[in-house]
Symmetry: C2
Subunit: 108 residues, 2 copies
Amino acid sequence: MRRDVFQAIADPTRRAILTLIALQAMTPNALAEHFDTSRQAVSKHIKILAECQLVDQQQHGREIYYHFNPEKMKEVADWLAPFQKMWEERFDRLDNLLENLKAQQNVR
Amino acid sequence: MRRDVFQAIADPTRRAILTLIALQAMTPNALAEHFDTSRQAVSKHIKILAECQLVDQQQHGREIYYHFNPEKMKEVADWLAPFQKMWEERFDRLDNLLENLKAQQNVR
DNA sequence: TATAAATGCAATTAATCGGTTGCGCAAGTT
DNA sequence: AACTTGCGCAACCGATTAATTGCATTTATA
């Protein structure tokens, strides 16, 4: 099963799970309490997140704590970087435009 | 149809389309030449990208040029930011660890 | 040792996805 | 005027998705 970080974060529930466990490692049961779905549904999401290494697990007795693993998220950031440059440039251009408009305010 | 930027960039073809038109605005036909699929398939992807405002269109006669719109991509960057902070911290910690190890190299 | 709790796995299902094919329409071309 | 080109739209189809339900397994507790 080819799992891909982009596909993993496409689902809003999975994004919420990541946000939760980024703050604190949690068990599937504890996670499920934050959602309107069943524990099994949450576990399936966790499985997908684990498959693309966005989460790690750590067993404590019969409980399994899932941790967020930021490493793989870099892939998204790396893909995003060139685009980010584009909107920053666009922002700069808008900035310059506004500066110019201000300067010419009394001209026309 | 509820479209969401995260879902839009989940598909590899759509990510490739964005990369292409970020460099230069293109028509659906021109885009389709870069892929192994039909023009209609590409058009469907474009439609999805347009629905979440990742692309703008500009008609020239019977041709439609699709432009990349970086604005909406910020949503992804914004969501990513806190996580990015985490892996940077982790990197810093690793960095400190390495520093400490170096310093203690002769101790144990 | 019997029972309860925490979890994973498998089967099922409705919905969505990505793709193809066929069609219609508007804009150029002959 | 007839034809070609570029495009969007609708219908259809197989694959995938997200969710539920039921069951098995391991670990803790009474």
